[in-house]
């Protein structure tokens, strides 16, 4: 090829998080975990959390999916660390996208998946620890959550 400039289909930050994912791996002693997506749809994200005093002290992920799905998981778990449950519940896919420096339009669903997998893990925790539910927040049942995710096309199968 004519020159050696490295071209990327995504932003530098996305590529960095894809090639060197942060927080990737299992967490056998997780306090909570959440999974969304399906192999048939091309993405599955699983998020593990360790939570102390209502604050996320560790977050890990495992993802089956494209480059931006992996980068979104990496970025989302990175952003989670140190957040309170309340703060984490308010984290949106838009924030993930912004932190990644943007995603192509047809890849936005990856950030939505990241938001949803984080929420799923948080809900898992909150269902086990009702005392930690922020005032006014309604935690969906596992069934409700799966139904909602199935509707947006990335329910766990």
């Amino acid at each position: 090829m004519a020159d050696d400039k490295q071209m990327t289909p995504y932003t530098k930050t996305v590529m960095d998080h894809f090639l060197n994912p942060r927080n990737m791996g299992d967490m056998p002693d997780a306090d909570a975990e959440g999974t969304v997506g399906s192999a048939a749809c091309g993405d599955i994200m699983k998020v593990f959390l360790k939570i102390q005093d209502n604050r996320i002290v560790e977050a890990k992920f495992k993802t089956f999916g494209c480059g931006s799905a992996i980068a979104s998981s990496s970025m989302a778990t990175e952003m989670l660390k140190g957040k309170t449950i309340d703060e984490a519940l308010k984290m949106t896919n838009r924030q993930v996208v912004d932190a990644l420096g943007g995603l192509p339009a047809y890849k936005m669903h990856c950030s939505v998946l990241a938001e949803d997998s984080v929420k799923a893990a948080l809900h898992d925790y909150l269902r086990k620890h009702p005392e930690a539910v922020p005032a006014g927040y309604v935690v969906p049942s596992k069934e409700e959550e799966q139904a909602a995710n199935a509707q947006t096309g990335h329910g766990e199968h």
Partner: protein, 413 residues
């Protein structure tokens, strides 16, 4: 870093001989072939030569059976819509397979919005179309039978001669999309017996911006790009003379070198498939085995428990260019309708990558690719929650199911 390019189905580098032939037509012989002055006549002359080269490449008897378009997609659209509109009074029914190139699928879908009706005949698990099923689909309203010679995604070769015979018996014109075949498989229009056949020289070291439609003079054809009288009234617009000149020579060269190119690709294909099956666990080949039912340039595989685009990106990072998902259109990252068409499990379809070989590839490159994909698959599996589940015995592999020792094995979740 020397890269390994394995995406020849979407683009090939221009042959330097072809580039040399095109060069004078940019700044010196720039005339418009419709014009009657020297500049125009020279261009006209060049076009005629290309037409003869393209005709002889596919065994057409007359140069005026060749129509130049801007590419394979346009040629396919012209064939399908052009026949449909020209035959509107005789019928409104088209027959295609379920695994055509998007240019055929979408052209047919558009016609359906305009009152035409299209039957999509299913294929078997290798992707092969059964001529008898085609025959069964014909009605007295059928105005076109269209299918491809070789598939863009999985390389399966269709029984086009038999389909041509069915079409002839039924009195329906047959259009053969040879875009994924031309340059790599021998094409003899007389044997195929198609009234229309399309291909694009940019698949075999010719220039982008050129496509060819062969049309037997008995087949009725309306233009889809209307205007001036170019291409014998079948395709209006100032001709892309340099591209057509290049297309002609690319045809001539491919005609001369096809057997040699195909043999080279065939050796690499076998090596690559064997290397991948050996080195990458839980990987399957999509489409027919290497051999007479498969184009020698195509290697489509699915690695289980991981997704295709991420494989593509990691391979690219290591200097290896491959495609994933929908071949020519990997931007639409939906699992390819071709893989769906052969009944491949959806998760495996998501994990597919597609490699298409070219004449500049080497045996060493094939070995390197197999090694690289093994590494990539391991890295992605380490990230994959599915692999994790599989390791923990919660789901099974479709590619290589575990021996059934107890009742606890579930199918892939």
């Amino acid at each position: 870093m020397k890269r390994i390019y394995l995406d020849h189905i979407t683009s090939t580098p221009l042959d330097p001989r072809v580039f040399e032939a095109m060069k004078p037509f940019f700044m010196e012989r720039y005339g418009n072939p419709s014009a009657m002055h020297q500049e125009g006549l020279m261009a006209r002359d060049a076009l005629q030569k290309s037409r003869e080269q393209a005709a002889s490449f596919i065994g057409a008897r007359r140069a005026d059976e060749i129509y130049f378009t801007s590419g394979g997609t346009e040629a396919n659209n012209l064939a399908i819509k052009g026949v449909a509109y020209a035959s509107q009074r005789n019928g409104n029914h088209l027959i295609i397979s379920t695994i055509e190139h998007p240019s055929v699928m979408e052209a047919a879908a558009f016609l359906e919005t305009q009152g035409f009706v299209c039957t999509r005949v299913p294929v078997d698990r290798e992707g092969r179309l059964d001529p008898e099923q085609v025959r069964a689909a014909v009605t007295d309203k059928t105005i076109l039978i269209a299918t491809h010679y070789a598939n863009h995604d999985i390389g399966v070769i269709q029984p086009v001669e038999e389909i041509g015979r069915v079409a002839a018996e039924k009195g329906a014109p047959f259009f053969c999309d040879a875009n994924a075949a031309a340059g790599w498989l021998p094409i003899d229009i007389q044997k195929i017996g198609a009234q229309l056949l399309s291909f694009t020289p940019h698949r075999f070291y010719g220039p982008k911006g050129s496509g060819v439609l062969y049309r037997n003079r008995k087949a009725r054809l309306q233009p889809i790009i209307h205007g001036g009288g170019q291409e014998n009234g079948r395709r209006a617009g100032t001709e892309n003379v340099p591209a057509i000149v290049g297309a002609g020579l690319a045809c001539e060269l491919a005609g001369r070198e096809q057997a040699e190119r195909a043999a080279h690709a065939g050796v690499l294909q076998k090596r690559l498939i064997e290397g991948l099956l050996e080195q990458v666990p839980y990987l399957i080949l999509n489409g027919p085995p290497a051999g007479p039912r498969r184009s020698p340039v195509n290697v489509s595989v699915s690695a289980e428990f991981i997704e295709g685009e991420s494989q593509l990106l990691l391979l690219d990072h290591q200097g290896i260019a491959v495609a994933s998902g929908g071949s020519c259109v990997s931007k639409s990252l939906k699992a390819s309708h071709v893989l769906k068409g052969i009944g491949l499990d959806e998760a495996l379809a998501q994990g597919s990558i597609m490699m298409t070989l070219g004449r500049e590839n080497t045996v060493e490159e094939m070995d390197e690719v197999a090694r690289a994909l093994a590494g990539v698959a391991a890295k992605l599996r380490a990230m994959s929650p599915l692999w994790d589940q599989f390791q923990k015995g919660r789901i099974d592999s479709l590619v290589k199911p575990r021996p059934k020792t107890d009742g606890r094995m579930n199918p892939l979740f």
